[in-house]
């Protein structure tokens, strides 16, 4: 078991193409850290550098206290589960799992014990004599996990291990991997492009985009307190609604004016917003913070606006309502309303915005306007780099 540290890590494929920009992360022993981001954000490269499959251009990566920049993958004491599972097609399941131990000259009896024990815990004990091609996707995935487990490595690396599974299996496998992490207590580092996987499995999540670490936080904090516009838009499904707005002062009160509607500034951030009077901001509202007037939670500070109903999707436990305005200056937005909400296609409806949960971003820097918790330096720098149009 070991901690993992990225210290000012850069990865360049050529002088012009930088795919990882000054990555700094400290991962404690036993953590379940998830790298999440859109494709091409550098999350897999970060993992592959840690695995030793990709060279580190600049900076240091440590496993425990040891700098591993020049250590061969085989000597890093890590195990990895690949997206393709990468099972050896010419070996049986047993040999696939035993391969790493055989190479380490583990006594045969211990290999046998460990392989059988792991296979049992993964429910693949009856498949040990088969070859990978005779297995289903879900079984292959578990063999790949088994191959990693038997080695008892210091760090587990998982590179999109669930993306080749169908939706139902994926949910099962998610819970399975979480339980595995709890049982083993080893450091897990998990790469995914799926923010649901990240939120459900990680003890901490590192959001990457365009080679920059955008924010690293616990799932709940990341969801409730996104530090910049990218994180706010990436985490959460359906995604957060954004409105271009201006801060205006009227009779001593601060108003967020989107031209389509006006809402009072959230009182807890009023003092910060004073500096933005007359400036552009971006208002972010999560779909679940927009309610139908008849089904709004009690004791919230709210503002009611009026909008036209475009589409209604009844999900059973909720209605996802696509709303828009008469003028086309703002695009349509989503609300997750109570399933009993009385809305009609093409009709007008009131929409109650929970002011306490709205997010405001500086339109110039795309950093959140918030004091507690204050946005991280990572988020500010990443947003700035993103804005300045040189993500690479």
């Amino acid at each position: 078991m070991a901690s993992v540290t990225y210290r000012h890590v850069y990865k360049r494929f050529s002088p012009e193409i930088t795919v990882i920009n000054d990555l700094n992360i400290e991962i404690a022993d036993g953590e379940f850290l998830v790298f999440v981001g859109p494709s091409g954000c550098g999350k897999s490269t970060s993992l592959r550098m840690l695995a030793g499959l990709e060279e580190i251009t600049e900076g240091e990566i440590l496993i425990g206290d040891r700098v591993v920049n020049n250590v061969a993958p085989k000597d890093r004491d890590i195990a990895m589960v690949f997206q393709s599972y990468a099972l050896y097609p010419h070996m049986t399941v047993y040999d696939n799992m035993a391969f790493g131990l055989k190479l380490r000259r583990t006594p045969k009896q211990i290999i046998d014990e460990r392989v059988r024990e792991s296979a049992k815990s993964l429910d693949i004990a009856h498949l040990l004599d088969r070859r990978p091609r005779q297995l289903s996707g879900g079984q292959r995935q578990r063999v790949a996990l088994g191959r990693a487990i038997v080695r008892e490595p210091a760090v587990f690396l998982l590179d999109e291990p669930l993306s080749n599974l169908d939706a139902k299996l994926r949910v099962e496998a998610r819970a399975f991997i979480s339980r595995l992490h709890q049982r083993l207590g080893t450091t897990f580092i998990y790469v995914t492009h799926d923010q649901t996987e990240a939120l459900t499995m990680g003890t901490r999540i590192a959001v990457l985009s365009a080679g920059y670490l955008q924010q690293i936080d616990s799932p709940s904090k990341l969801y409730s307190y996104p530090d910049n516009l990218f994180v706010a838009g990436f985490i959460g499904s359906p995604a957060m609604n954004f409105f271009n707005a201006k801060v205006v002062e009227s009779e001593g009160k601060l108003i967020i004016d989107t031209t389509s509607f006006r809402i009072p500034a959230p009182p807890d951030r009023e003092h910060l917003l004073r500096a933005y009077v007359g400036k552009d901001v971006i208002l972010g509202v999560r779909p679940e913070d927009i309610h139908h007037p008849n089904y709004q939670p009690a004791d919230i500070q709210s503002a009611t606006i009026e909008a036209i109903v475009d589409v209604i999707e009844l999900m059973g436990n909720e209605k996802i309502v696509y709303l828009s305005f008469d003028d086309s200056s703002q695009s349509s937005f989503l609300a997750r309303m109570d399933p009993r909400s009385d809305v009609h296609l093409g009709g007008k409806t009131g929409a109650v915005i929970n002011l306490g949960n709205v997010h405001l971003f500086d339109a110039a820097t795309e950093v959140v306007i918030r004091e507690d918790p204050a946005p991280s330096e990572d988020a500010k720098r990443a947003a700035l780099a993103y804005k300045s149009g040189k993500p690479h």
Partner: protein, 320 residues
């Protein structure tokens, strides 16, 4: 969907079942014939008929002109002569030496070079890849002529180079010395054909997913173990194919030997192909030559069938 779409006609509503059946069968046969006849006629004209004729000639003492008569009918005489001829024994032995050396030296060399230039980060590997493949593009006659200059006893490149490297080295008539000639020819065959095998190996390498080798590296394998436990086993089908082609090539070797040494000196580089040409065709013993050809044909045919059946097939069972 309406229910009628799935209605099945009862059998007895087809009064002409038998005749329809006949028509269909004829149509089918006609189609089969239409597609088979062109291919089969080529097969017949250029393969089956010549082979049958050769087999027939092999039973006669025939000079290549005149009719086959009962007077020059020899029965298995040609085969017996062949069996007893020590030059033929030498030719067979040389063929097998070349075959063995090809498998032990030429193929591993091709594999090694494929691993080196077929992928990885060796600078200029594209250039080397092309360079190494060039010998295969030359015709065999040109190759043989070039190498005659290289092996020239007085001012050939081979002697010149050895003289420069090894002090006191005395020139060797590479193609004129019984001890050296076969190995000198083998060097040429290697130079000429390794590029072809290298190309096959490179194709085989490309079909191995990179993930597998990376997984092995993380599992604890060094580069040698990755090669031994993952890369080579997954190259199995390609390796079996090159072994097959290499063995067949050895049986069929003719042009280079014929141009460079004509089997000499004193039959020291005689192989089955040159033996056939020399004793069968040049000396107008077409009956005898046919017997050699028949032996050669059946050897390669039986080998091919056995190899396909037992070696190449085993691989299909292991394959992904």
């Amino acid at each position: 969907m309406s229910a009628t779409r799935f209605r099945v006609l009862p059998r007895n509503t087809q009064p002409h079942a038998a005749s329809i059946n006949w028509n269909q069968r004829f149509d089918k046969l006609f189609t089969i014939a239409l597609f088979t006849i062109p291919g089969f006629s080529i097969f017949l004209t250029f393969l089956l008929i010549p082979i049958t004729l050769t087999a027939r000639y092999s039973l006669y003492e025939w000079k290549g002109f005149g009719d086959l008569t009962s007077e020059n009918y020899a029965g298995l005489g040609n085969y017996q002569r062949l069996y007893e001829h020590d030059v033929f024994h030498q030719a067979v032995e040389h063929t097998f030496i070349i075959m063995g050396l090809s498998l032990l030296i030429q193929l591993p060399l091709a594999l090694g070079l494929a691993l080196l230039v077929g992928r990885g980060e060796l600078p200029g590997r594209r250039f080397f890849r092309t360079l190494l493949f060039i010998p295969y593009v030359f015709s065999e006659v040109i190759t043989a002529l070039i190498w005659q200059y290289v092996y020239h006893p007085r001012n050939g490149l081979a002697n010149y180079t050895f003289e420069k490297i090894i002090p006191g080295f005395e020139s060797i008539p590479w193609l004129g010395e019984r001890e050296y000639v076969l190995y000198a020819i083998f060097a040429v065959l290697t130079w000429k054909f390794f590029g072809f095998h290298m190309l096959l190996y490179m194709a085989g390498l490309q079909s191995i997913p990179k993930d597998l080798e990376e997984a092995a590296r993380i599992d604890g394998a060094g580069e040698w173990n990755v090669l031994r436990f993952v890369t080579l086993p997954l190259m199995g089908s390609t390796i079996r194919l090159t072994v097959f082609l290499s063995i067949l090539g050895s049986f069929q070797q003719f042009v280079i030997v014929n141009v460079m040494t004509n089997g000499g000196p004193f039959y020291a580089s005689e192989v089955m192909g040159t033996y056939l040409y020399k004793f069968g065709i040049q000396r107008f013993n077409l009956g005898y030559g046919s017997a050699i050809a028949v032996v050669l044909f059946f050897t390669t045919l039986i080998f091919s069938i056995l190899y396909q059946r037992f070696v190449m097939r085993a691989e299909q069972e292991i394959a992904r």
